[in-house]
Protein backbone atom coordinates (compact mmCIF):
# COMPACT_ATOMS: atom_id res chain seq x y z
CA UNK A 1 0.00 0.00 0.00
CA UNK A 2 1.65 3.14 -1.19
CA UNK A 3 -0.21 6.08 0.34
CA UNK A 4 1.79 8.75 -1.41
CA UNK A 5 0.85 7.17 -4.74
CA UNK A 6 -2.84 7.17 -3.79
CA UNK A 7 -2.62 10.77 -2.65
CA UNK A 8 -0.89 12.07 -5.78
CA UNK A 9 -3.41 10.21 -7.95
CA UNK A 10 -6.28 11.66 -5.95
CA UNK A 11 -4.98 15.19 -6.30
CA UNK A 12 -4.44 14.87 -10.04
CA UNK A 13 -7.91 13.46 -10.58
CA UNK A 14 -9.42 16.09 -8.31
CA UNK A 15 -7.80 18.87 -10.34
CA UNK A 16 -9.01 17.53 -13.68
CA UNK A 17 -12.52 16.59 -12.57
CA UNK A 18 -12.80 19.78 -10.58
CA UNK A 19 -12.11 21.79 -13.74
CA UNK A 20 -14.96 19.96 -15.47
CA UNK A 21 -17.27 20.26 -12.48
CA UNK A 22 -16.72 24.01 -12.21
CA UNK A 23 -17.55 24.32 -15.91
CA UNK A 24 -20.80 22.38 -15.52
CA UNK A 25 -21.68 24.21 -12.32
CA UNK A 26 -21.13 27.67 -13.83
CA UNK A 27 -23.24 26.87 -16.89
CA UNK A 28 -26.07 25.55 -14.79
CA UNK A 29 -26.23 28.39 -12.31
CA UNK A 30 -25.80 31.27 -14.74
CA UNK A 31 -27.69 30.01 -17.78
CA UNK A 32 -29.97 27.38 -16.25
CA UNK A 33 -28.58 24.89 -18.72
CA UNK A 34 -27.29 21.42 -17.90
CA UNK A 35 -24.78 21.04 -20.66
CA UNK A 36 -25.01 17.40 -21.74
CA UNK A 37 -22.77 18.27 -24.70
CA UNK A 38 -19.86 18.83 -22.30
CA UNK A 39 -18.50 15.39 -23.12
CA UNK A 40 -18.62 16.21 -26.80
CA UNK A 41 -16.76 19.50 -26.25
CA UNK A 42 -14.24 17.51 -24.22
CA UNK A 43 -13.66 15.01 -27.05
CA UNK A 44 -13.68 17.72 -29.71
CA UNK A 45 -10.99 19.74 -27.97
CA UNK A 46 -8.91 16.57 -27.60
CA UNK A 47 -9.02 16.21 -31.36
CA UNK A 48 -8.29 19.91 -31.79
CA UNK A 49 -5.16 19.53 -29.69
CA UNK A 50 -4.22 16.37 -31.58
CA UNK A 51 -4.59 18.06 -34.98
CA UNK A 52 -2.54 21.02 -33.76
CA UNK A 53 0.21 18.70 -32.53
CA UNK A 54 0.37 17.08 -35.98
CA UNK A 55 -0.03 20.12 -38.22
CA UNK A 56 1.28 23.13 -36.32
CA UNK A 57 3.76 22.13 -33.66
CA UNK A 58 4.09 19.59 -30.89
CA UNK A 59 5.20 22.28 -28.45
CA UNK A 60 3.34 21.92 -25.12
CA UNK A 61 2.06 25.51 -25.18
CA UNK A 62 0.68 25.15 -28.71
CA UNK A 63 -1.06 21.85 -27.97
CA UNK A 64 -2.60 23.16 -24.78
CA UNK A 65 -3.72 26.43 -26.37
CA UNK A 66 -5.24 24.51 -29.29
CA UNK A 67 -7.19 22.31 -26.88
CA UNK A 68 -8.46 25.27 -24.89
CA UNK A 69 -9.41 27.27 -28.00
CA UNK A 70 -11.21 24.31 -29.57
CA UNK A 71 -13.07 23.87 -26.31
CA UNK A 72 -14.12 27.53 -26.31
CA UNK A 73 -15.26 27.15 -29.92
CA UNK A 74 -17.23 24.04 -29.01
CA UNK A 75 -18.87 25.97 -26.18
CA UNK A 76 -19.85 28.75 -28.59
CA UNK A 77 -21.35 26.20 -31.01
CA UNK A 78 -23.43 24.68 -28.22
CA UNK A 79 -24.47 28.20 -27.15
CA UNK A 80 -25.57 29.10 -30.68
CA UNK A 81 -27.53 25.88 -31.16
CA UNK A 82 -28.97 25.15 -27.75
CA UNK A 83 -29.09 28.42 -25.80
CA UNK A 84 -29.69 31.46 -28.02
CA UNK A 85 -32.74 30.12 -29.91
CA UNK A 86 -34.62 28.66 -26.94
CA UNK A 87 -33.48 30.41 -23.77
CA UNK A 88 -36.68 32.41 -23.30
CA UNK A 89 -39.12 29.76 -24.43
CA UNK A 90 -41.29 27.96 -21.89
CA UNK A 91 -39.76 24.90 -20.26
CA UNK A 92 -36.24 25.94 -21.22
CA UNK A 93 -34.24 23.70 -18.83
CA UNK A 94 -35.80 20.53 -20.26
CA UNK A 95 -35.53 21.70 -23.85
CA UNK A 96 -31.90 22.66 -23.33
CA UNK A 97 -31.19 19.29 -21.75
CA UNK A 98 -32.59 17.52 -24.82
CA UNK A 99 -30.92 19.91 -27.27
CA UNK A 100 -27.48 19.53 -25.71
CA UNK A 101 -27.93 15.76 -25.48
CA UNK A 102 -28.74 15.76 -29.21
CA UNK A 103 -25.63 17.83 -29.95
CA UNK A 104 -23.59 15.41 -27.88
CA UNK A 105 -24.92 12.33 -29.71
CA UNK A 106 -24.60 13.85 -33.19
CA UNK A 107 -21.22 15.35 -32.40
CA UNK A 108 -19.76 12.15 -31.03
CA UNK A 109 -20.96 10.18 -34.07
CA UNK A 110 -19.50 12.86 -36.35
CA UNK A 111 -16.14 12.52 -34.57
CA UNK A 112 -16.34 8.74 -34.95
CA UNK A 113 -17.19 9.10 -38.63
CA UNK A 114 -14.46 11.62 -39.36
CA UNK A 115 -11.57 10.45 -37.21
CA UNK A 116 -12.38 6.75 -36.95
CA UNK A 117 -12.62 4.65 -33.82
CA UNK A 118 -8.90 4.34 -33.16
CA UNK A 119 -7.72 6.32 -30.15
CA UNK A 120 -5.13 9.03 -30.70
CA UNK A 121 -2.49 9.98 -28.20
CA UNK A 122 -1.24 13.48 -27.54
CA UNK A 123 2.48 14.26 -27.24
CA UNK A 124 3.81 14.32 -23.68
CA UNK A 125 3.36 17.91 -22.60
CA UNK A 126 5.26 17.81 -19.36
CA UNK A 127 8.23 15.64 -20.38
CA UNK A 128 9.18 12.45 -18.63
CA UNK A 129 10.72 13.01 -15.25
CA UNK A 130 9.90 12.51 -11.61
CA UNK A 131 9.79 15.06 -8.88
CA UNK A 132 10.36 14.40 -5.21
CA UNK A 133 8.05 16.50 -3.06
CA UNK A 134 8.55 15.85 0.68
CA UNK A 135 9.53 12.29 -0.07
CA UNK A 136 6.58 11.67 -2.35
CA UNK A 137 7.59 10.65 -5.89
CA UNK A 138 5.33 12.42 -8.39
CA UNK A 139 5.50 11.82 -12.14
CA UNK A 140 5.81 14.84 -14.39
CA UNK A 141 2.44 14.41 -16.10
CA UNK A 142 0.57 14.33 -12.79
CA UNK A 143 2.44 17.33 -11.41
CA UNK A 144 2.00 19.25 -14.67
CA UNK A 145 -1.71 18.45 -14.85
CA UNK A 146 -2.34 19.51 -11.25
CA UNK A 147 -0.31 22.70 -11.50
CA UNK A 148 -1.76 23.87 -14.81
CA UNK A 149 -5.33 23.12 -13.73
CA UNK A 150 -4.85 25.00 -10.45
CA UNK A 151 -3.15 27.96 -12.17
CA UNK A 152 -5.81 28.31 -14.86
CA UNK A 153 -8.70 27.88 -12.42
CA UNK A 154 -7.19 30.48 -10.09
CA UNK A 155 -6.83 32.89 -13.00
CA UNK A 156 -10.45 32.37 -14.04
CA UNK A 157 -11.76 32.75 -10.50
CA UNK A 158 -9.72 35.94 -10.03
CA UNK A 159 -11.11 37.25 -13.30
CA UNK A 160 -14.63 36.45 -12.13
CA UNK A 161 -13.98 38.30 -8.87
CA UNK A 162 -12.40 41.41 -10.31
CA UNK A 163 -13.64 42.13 -13.82
CA UNK A 164 -16.87 43.63 -14.98
CA UNK A 165 -17.79 40.60 -17.10
CA UNK A 166 -17.13 38.40 -14.09
CA UNK A 167 -19.45 40.56 -12.04
CA UNK A 168 -22.11 40.17 -14.73
CA UNK A 169 -21.72 36.40 -14.75
CA UNK A 170 -21.87 36.20 -10.95
CA UNK A 171 -24.91 38.48 -10.89
CA UNK A 172 -26.64 36.25 -13.40
CA UNK A 173 -25.77 33.15 -11.36
CA UNK A 174 -27.54 34.59 -8.36
CA UNK A 175 -30.60 36.23 -9.88
CA UNK A 176 -31.11 36.20 -13.68
CA UNK A 177 -34.26 38.29 -13.39
CA UNK A 178 -32.55 41.07 -11.49
CA UNK A 179 -29.58 40.81 -13.85
CA UNK A 180 -31.73 41.84 -16.81
CA UNK A 181 -33.10 44.73 -14.74
CA UNK A 182 -29.60 46.12 -14.25
CA UNK A 183 -28.91 45.91 -17.98
CA UNK A 184 -27.05 42.60 -18.23
CA UNK A 185 -27.85 40.92 -21.54
CA UNK A 186 -28.63 37.25 -21.02
CA UNK A 187 -27.56 36.20 -24.49
CA UNK A 188 -24.27 38.08 -24.48
CA UNK A 189 -23.37 36.76 -21.04
CA UNK A 190 -24.34 33.32 -22.34
CA UNK A 191 -21.60 33.60 -24.96
CA UNK A 192 -18.99 34.47 -22.33
CA UNK A 193 -20.06 31.68 -20.02
CA UNK A 194 -20.17 29.03 -22.72
CA UNK A 195 -16.80 30.02 -24.17
CA UNK A 196 -15.30 30.05 -20.69
CA UNK A 197 -16.71 26.69 -19.61
CA UNK A 198 -15.88 25.21 -23.03
CA UNK A 199 -12.27 26.25 -22.58
CA UNK A 200 -12.29 24.60 -19.14
CA UNK A 201 -13.45 21.37 -20.82
CA UNK A 202 -10.67 21.81 -23.37
CA UNK A 203 -8.07 22.18 -20.64
CA UNK A 204 -9.35 19.11 -18.79
CA UNK A 205 -9.33 17.17 -22.05
CA UNK A 206 -5.69 17.96 -22.81
CA UNK A 207 -4.68 17.17 -19.24
CA UNK A 208 -6.55 13.89 -19.04
CA UNK A 209 -5.18 12.85 -22.43
CA UNK A 210 -1.74 12.80 -20.78
CA UNK A 211 -2.86 9.66 -18.94
CA UNK A 212 -5.55 8.34 -21.30
CA UNK A 213 -6.22 8.78 -25.00
CA UNK A 214 -8.26 10.96 -27.31
CA UNK A 215 -11.20 8.98 -28.68
CA UNK A 216 -14.65 9.88 -30.06
CA UNK A 217 -16.41 8.84 -26.87
CA UNK A 218 -13.67 9.72 -24.40
CA UNK A 219 -15.75 12.60 -23.04
CA UNK A 220 -18.67 10.61 -21.64
CA UNK A 221 -17.07 9.32 -18.42
CA UNK A 222 -15.38 12.64 -17.53
CA UNK A 223 -18.69 14.43 -18.09
CA UNK A 224 -20.56 12.02 -15.82
CA UNK A 225 -17.89 12.52 -13.17
CA UNK A 226 -17.91 16.29 -13.61
CA UNK A 227 -21.70 16.39 -13.35
CA UNK A 228 -21.76 14.22 -10.24
CA UNK A 229 -19.06 16.34 -8.59
CA UNK A 230 -21.04 19.44 -9.42
CA UNK A 231 -24.06 17.80 -7.76
CA UNK A 232 -22.13 16.79 -4.66
CA UNK A 233 -20.67 20.26 -4.39
CA UNK A 234 -24.05 21.89 -4.85
CA UNK A 235 -24.81 23.17 -8.36
CA UNK A 236 -23.63 26.72 -8.76
CA UNK A 237 -21.02 26.80 -6.04
CA UNK A 238 -17.37 26.99 -7.07
CA UNK A 239 -15.88 26.19 -3.62
CA UNK A 240 -18.39 23.36 -3.30
CA UNK A 241 -17.22 21.95 -6.62
CA UNK A 242 -13.59 22.11 -5.50
CA UNK A 243 -14.32 20.23 -2.26
CA UNK A 244 -16.52 17.75 -4.15
CA UNK A 245 -13.69 17.16 -6.61
CA UNK A 246 -11.25 16.41 -3.78
CA UNK A 247 -13.71 13.93 -2.23
CA UNK A 248 -14.47 12.18 -5.52
CA UNK A 249 -10.81 12.15 -6.57
CA UNK A 250 -9.81 10.65 -3.20
CA UNK A 251 -12.56 8.08 -3.51
CA UNK A 252 -11.49 7.11 -7.02
CA UNK A 253 -7.83 6.76 -6.10
CA UNK A 254 -8.63 4.80 -2.93
CA UNK A 255 -11.16 2.49 -4.57
CA UNK A 256 -8.97 1.63 -7.52
CA UNK A 257 -6.07 0.82 -5.20
CA UNK A 258 -7.97 -1.04 -2.49
CA UNK A 259 -10.80 -2.73 -4.40
CA UNK A 260 -9.97 -2.45 -8.10
CA UNK A 261 -10.81 -0.08 -10.95
CA UNK A 262 -14.14 -1.72 -11.81
CA UNK A 263 -15.65 -0.66 -8.47
CA UNK A 264 -14.89 3.07 -8.88
CA UNK A 265 -18.29 4.09 -10.24
CA UNK A 266 -20.14 2.00 -7.63
CA UNK A 267 -18.41 3.58 -4.62
CA UNK A 268 -18.57 6.99 -6.28
CA UNK A 269 -22.33 6.97 -6.70
CA UNK A 270 -22.85 5.45 -3.25
CA UNK A 271 -20.85 8.37 -1.88
CA UNK A 272 -22.88 10.88 -3.90
CA UNK A 273 -26.17 9.37 -2.71
CA UNK A 274 -24.91 9.51 0.86
CA UNK A 275 -23.88 13.17 0.60
CA UNK A 276 -27.15 14.20 -1.04
CA UNK A 277 -29.20 12.29 1.55
CA UNK A 278 -27.55 14.20 4.35
CA UNK A 279 -27.13 17.50 2.50
CA UNK A 280 -29.73 17.85 -0.29
CA UNK A 281 -28.16 21.07 -1.51
CA UNK A 282 -24.72 19.52 -1.63
CA UNK A 283 -21.63 20.67 0.19
CA UNK A 284 -22.38 24.28 -0.75
CA UNK A 285 -25.27 24.19 1.73
CA UNK A 286 -22.67 24.09 4.48
CA UNK A 287 -20.62 26.93 3.04
CA UNK A 288 -23.37 29.38 2.19
CA UNK A 289 -23.37 32.20 4.68
CA UNK A 290 -25.88 34.40 2.91
CA UNK A 291 -29.60 33.94 3.11
CA UNK A 292 -31.23 33.17 -0.22
CA UNK A 293 -33.60 35.65 -1.90
Amino acid sequence: MNWSFVLSNAITLACIYGTLAIGISLTWSSLGLVNMAFGFIFALSGYGAWLASLNISAQPAVVMAAGILTGALGGLIVCLLAFIPIHDKPNFPLRALIATLAISLIGNQALLWYFGPRAKSLPKLFGNWNADIFGVIVTSDKLGASVSAIVLLTLILLWMRSSRRGLEIRAMMMNPHAASIVGIGVRRTGFYVMALTGSLAGLASVLLAQTYYVAPFSGITPMVKGLSIALVGGLGSVPGAVIGAVIIGLNEALTSTLLGGQYVLITQFLLIILVLLVRPRGIAGLLDKAREA
Binding site: L167, S180, I181
Partner: protein
Protein backbone atom coordinates in the same frame (compact mmCIF):
# COMPACT_ATOMS: atom_id res chain seq x y z
CA UNK B 1 -45.70 61.54 -32.52
CA UNK B 2 -47.37 64.63 -31.09
CA UNK B 3 -45.46 67.70 -29.97
CA UNK B 4 -46.28 66.87 -26.39
CA UNK B 5 -44.76 63.44 -26.68
CA UNK B 6 -41.60 64.61 -28.40
CA UNK B 7 -39.88 65.97 -25.32
CA UNK B 8 -41.48 63.49 -22.93
CA UNK B 9 -39.25 61.03 -21.12
CA UNK B 10 -41.95 58.40 -21.33
CA UNK B 11 -44.99 58.28 -23.55
CA UNK B 12 -47.25 55.26 -23.24
CA UNK B 13 -50.15 54.88 -25.67
CA UNK B 14 -52.77 52.17 -25.68
CA UNK B 15 -50.76 49.76 -23.55
CA UNK B 16 -52.28 46.43 -22.60
CA UNK B 17 -50.27 43.83 -20.78
CA UNK B 18 -50.64 40.75 -18.64
CA UNK B 19 -49.67 37.18 -17.93
CA UNK B 20 -51.06 34.25 -19.92
CA UNK B 21 -54.85 34.60 -20.17
CA UNK B 22 -54.85 37.35 -17.55
CA UNK B 23 -55.04 40.95 -18.75
CA UNK B 24 -53.83 43.33 -16.07
CA UNK B 25 -53.31 46.62 -17.94
CA UNK B 26 -56.18 47.86 -20.11
CA UNK B 27 -55.43 50.37 -22.90
CA UNK B 28 -53.43 52.65 -20.66
CA UNK B 29 -52.03 56.07 -21.64
CA UNK B 30 -49.35 57.83 -19.60
CA UNK B 31 -46.95 60.66 -20.33
CA UNK B 32 -44.05 61.60 -18.09
CA UNK B 33 -42.07 64.81 -18.64
CA UNK B 34 -38.45 65.60 -17.71
CA UNK B 35 -37.94 66.70 -14.13
CA UNK B 36 -41.24 65.30 -12.92
CA UNK B 37 -41.70 63.27 -9.78
CA UNK B 38 -44.92 61.34 -10.01
CA UNK B 39 -46.74 59.27 -7.44
CA UNK B 40 -48.70 56.29 -8.68
CA UNK B 41 -51.18 55.17 -6.05
CA UNK B 42 -53.61 52.30 -6.02
CA UNK B 43 -54.51 49.15 -4.19
CA UNK B 44 -52.76 45.84 -4.38
CA UNK B 45 -53.41 43.95 -7.60
CA UNK B 46 -54.54 46.90 -9.68
CA UNK B 47 -51.55 46.85 -11.99
CA UNK B 48 -48.96 49.28 -10.64
CA UNK B 49 -46.17 46.73 -10.71
CA UNK B 50 -47.38 45.26 -14.00
CA UNK B 51 -47.27 48.71 -15.58
CA UNK B 52 -43.63 49.08 -14.52
CA UNK B 53 -42.82 45.58 -15.70
CA UNK B 54 -44.52 46.23 -19.05
CA UNK B 55 -42.35 49.33 -19.54
CA UNK B 56 -39.29 47.14 -18.83
CA UNK B 57 -40.55 44.36 -21.10
CA UNK B 58 -40.90 41.89 -18.25
CA UNK B 59 -44.57 40.91 -18.54
CA UNK B 60 -45.79 37.70 -20.12
CA UNK B 61 -47.28 39.55 -23.09
CA UNK B 62 -47.97 43.15 -24.04
CA UNK B 63 -49.11 45.36 -26.89
CA UNK B 64 -49.20 49.10 -27.47
CA UNK B 65 -46.69 51.85 -27.88
CA UNK B 66 -44.10 52.79 -25.25
CA UNK B 67 -41.79 55.64 -26.22
CA UNK B 68 -38.77 56.03 -23.94
CA UNK B 69 -36.86 59.20 -24.91
CA UNK B 70 -38.57 58.94 -28.29
CA UNK B 71 -37.46 55.35 -28.90
CA UNK B 72 -40.12 52.74 -29.32
CA UNK B 73 -39.43 50.12 -26.66
CA UNK B 74 -42.91 48.61 -26.50
CA UNK B 75 -43.50 45.72 -28.78
CA UNK B 76 -46.32 43.32 -29.32
CA UNK B 77 -44.86 40.34 -27.56
CA UNK B 78 -46.45 37.04 -26.69
CA UNK B 79 -43.56 35.43 -24.84
CA UNK B 80 -39.99 35.83 -23.74
CA UNK B 81 -40.37 38.07 -20.67
CA UNK B 82 -37.09 39.89 -20.13
CA UNK B 83 -35.71 39.18 -23.57
CA UNK B 84 -35.31 42.87 -24.41
CA UNK B 85 -35.15 44.26 -20.89
CA UNK B 86 -31.42 44.92 -20.92
CA UNK B 87 -31.76 46.91 -24.16
CA UNK B 88 -34.60 48.98 -22.71
CA UNK B 89 -32.54 49.55 -19.57
CA UNK B 90 -29.66 50.77 -21.71
CA UNK B 91 -31.99 53.31 -23.32
CA UNK B 92 -32.22 55.05 -19.95
CA UNK B 93 -34.58 53.13 -17.68
CA UNK B 94 -33.84 52.32 -14.06
CA UNK B 95 -36.36 49.93 -12.55
CA UNK B 96 -36.22 49.53 -8.79
CA UNK B 97 -38.40 46.47 -8.44
CA UNK B 98 -40.71 45.37 -5.70
CA UNK B 99 -39.09 42.89 -3.35
CA UNK B 100 -35.67 44.30 -4.15
CA UNK B 101 -34.47 41.52 -6.54
CA UNK B 102 -31.02 41.49 -5.01
CA UNK B 103 -28.06 39.23 -5.76
CA UNK B 104 -27.80 37.57 -2.36
CA UNK B 105 -24.11 36.61 -2.59
CA UNK B 106 -22.71 39.87 -3.95
CA UNK B 107 -21.44 42.51 -1.56
CA UNK B 108 -23.05 45.90 -1.27
CA UNK B 109 -20.20 47.44 -3.25
CA UNK B 110 -20.52 44.90 -6.06
CA UNK B 111 -24.23 45.60 -6.14
CA UNK B 112 -23.70 49.27 -6.66
CA UNK B 113 -21.13 48.46 -9.37
CA UNK B 114 -23.60 46.21 -11.12
CA UNK B 115 -26.03 49.10 -11.39
CA UNK B 116 -23.54 51.19 -13.38
CA UNK B 117 -24.28 49.57 -16.71
CA UNK B 118 -23.40 52.36 -19.12
CA UNK B 119 -19.77 52.88 -20.08
CA UNK B 120 -19.67 56.31 -18.50
CA UNK B 121 -21.37 55.21 -15.31
CA UNK B 122 -18.85 52.34 -15.00
CA UNK B 123 -15.92 54.72 -15.32
CA UNK B 124 -17.36 57.13 -12.78
CA UNK B 125 -18.54 54.42 -10.43
CA UNK B 126 -16.25 55.45 -7.58
CA UNK B 127 -17.67 58.98 -7.38
CA UNK B 128 -21.19 57.69 -7.90
CA UNK B 129 -20.83 55.24 -5.03
CA UNK B 130 -19.84 58.18 -2.82
CA UNK B 131 -23.02 59.96 -3.90
CA UNK B 132 -25.13 56.92 -3.01
CA UNK B 133 -23.43 56.73 0.38
CA UNK B 134 -24.37 60.35 1.01
CA UNK B 135 -28.00 59.47 0.33
CA UNK B 136 -27.84 56.27 2.39
CA UNK B 137 -25.11 56.77 5.05
CA UNK B 138 -25.84 53.42 6.81
CA UNK B 139 -24.43 51.56 3.78
CA UNK B 140 -20.93 52.96 4.34
CA UNK B 141 -20.11 50.38 6.98
CA UNK B 142 -21.70 47.53 5.03
CA UNK B 143 -19.85 47.88 1.72
CA UNK B 144 -17.97 44.56 2.01
CA UNK B 145 -20.85 42.47 3.36
CA UNK B 146 -22.93 40.13 1.17
CA UNK B 147 -26.38 41.57 0.67
CA UNK B 148 -27.98 38.28 1.70
CA UNK B 149 -27.02 39.07 5.29
CA UNK B 150 -28.55 42.53 5.43
CA UNK B 151 -31.88 43.50 6.95
CA UNK B 152 -34.91 44.38 4.86
CA UNK B 153 -34.41 48.12 5.15
CA UNK B 154 -30.73 47.87 4.26
CA UNK B 155 -31.57 45.70 1.26
CA UNK B 156 -34.07 48.28 0.07
CA UNK B 157 -31.38 50.96 0.30
CA UNK B 158 -29.06 48.75 -1.74
CA UNK B 159 -31.73 48.10 -4.37
CA UNK B 160 -32.51 51.80 -4.67
CA UNK B 161 -28.83 52.71 -4.66
CA UNK B 162 -28.25 50.24 -7.48
CA UNK B 163 -30.97 51.94 -9.50
CA UNK B 164 -29.51 55.39 -8.82
CA UNK B 165 -26.02 54.40 -10.00
CA UNK B 166 -26.92 54.69 -13.67
CA UNK B 167 -27.59 57.79 -15.76
CA UNK B 168 -31.20 56.81 -16.13
CA UNK B 169 -33.72 59.24 -17.60
CA UNK B 170 -36.62 57.45 -16.01
CA UNK B 171 -36.63 55.93 -12.53
CA UNK B 172 -39.48 53.56 -11.79
CA UNK B 173 -39.61 52.87 -8.06
CA UNK B 174 -41.99 50.09 -7.08
CA UNK B 175 -43.36 50.28 -3.52
CA UNK B 176 -40.28 51.67 -1.76
CA UNK B 177 -41.89 51.38 1.70
CA UNK B 178 -43.33 47.87 1.27
CA UNK B 179 -42.51 45.47 4.07
CA UNK B 180 -40.48 48.00 6.05
CA UNK B 181 -41.12 49.39 9.48
CA UNK B 182 -42.99 52.71 9.10
CA UNK B 183 -40.06 54.78 10.31
CA UNK B 184 -37.57 53.10 7.95
CA UNK B 185 -40.05 53.18 5.05
CA UNK B 186 -40.46 56.90 5.59
CA UNK B 187 -36.72 57.50 5.59
CA UNK B 188 -36.39 55.55 2.32
CA UNK B 189 -39.10 57.67 0.70
CA UNK B 190 -37.44 60.80 2.12
CA UNK B 191 -34.21 59.74 0.41
CA UNK B 192 -36.04 59.32 -2.89
CA UNK B 193 -37.50 62.81 -2.54
CA UNK B 194 -34.00 64.18 -1.94
CA UNK B 195 -32.61 62.78 -5.20
CA UNK B 196 -31.96 65.60 -7.62
CA UNK B 197 -33.69 64.67 -10.84
CA UNK B 198 -32.36 67.28 -13.26
CA UNK B 199 -33.80 66.36 -16.63
CA UNK B 200 -34.74 62.83 -15.60
CA UNK B 201 -38.06 61.77 -14.16
CA UNK B 202 -39.20 59.49 -11.37
CA UNK B 203 -42.40 57.52 -10.92
CA UNK B 204 -43.01 56.11 -7.45
CA UNK B 205 -45.68 53.47 -6.96
CA UNK B 206 -46.92 53.51 -3.40
CA UNK B 207 -49.94 52.37 -1.46
CA UNK B 208 -49.40 54.77 1.36
CA UNK B 209 -50.67 58.05 -0.02
CA UNK B 210 -49.58 59.86 3.12
CA UNK B 211 -45.92 59.28 2.31
CA UNK B 212 -46.20 61.09 -1.02
CA UNK B 213 -48.72 63.74 -0.11
CA UNK B 214 -47.64 67.22 -1.09
CA UNK B 215 -44.12 66.12 -2.04
CA UNK B 216 -44.55 65.00 -5.65
CA UNK B 217 -45.51 66.98 -8.74
CA UNK B 218 -48.46 64.82 -9.69
CA UNK B 219 -50.34 61.95 -8.12
CA UNK B 220 -52.07 59.49 -10.41
CA UNK B 221 -54.53 56.92 -9.16
CA UNK B 222 -54.61 53.46 -10.61
CA UNK B 223 -57.62 51.20 -10.52
CA UNK B 224 -58.28 47.89 -12.27
CA UNK B 225 -55.52 48.30 -14.82
CA UNK B 226 -56.43 51.86 -15.80
CA UNK B 227 -55.27 55.28 -14.64
CA UNK B 228 -58.08 56.98 -12.74
CA UNK B 229 -57.93 60.59 -11.76
CA UNK B 230 -54.95 62.84 -11.48
CA UNK B 231 -54.14 65.57 -9.03
CA UNK B 232 -51.37 68.07 -9.44
CA UNK B 233 -52.08 69.50 -6.00
CA UNK B 234 -52.01 66.23 -4.16
CA UNK B 235 -53.71 67.55 -1.07
CA UNK B 236 -57.02 67.93 -2.88
CA UNK B 237 -56.94 64.23 -3.66
CA UNK B 238 -56.53 63.41 0.02
CA UNK B 239 -59.35 65.77 0.85
CA UNK B 240 -61.66 64.00 -1.54
CA UNK B 241 -61.04 60.66 0.09
CA UNK B 242 -61.65 61.73 3.63
Amino acid sequence: MSDVARNAVLDVRGLSAGWGPLRVIHDLDLTVFPGERIGLVGLNGHGKSTLFQAIAGLTGWQRGSILLNGFEVGRTRSQGPGRYTHQIVRRGLALIPQGDEIFHGLTVEEHLDSGAYTRRAWKERATRKQRILQIFPPLTKLMAIPVGRLSGGERRMVAIGRGLMADADLFLVDEPSLGLAPKIGKSVVDALMAVELGSSAMVIAEQNLGLLEGRVDRIIGMHAGKLKGEASASKSLMGGHR
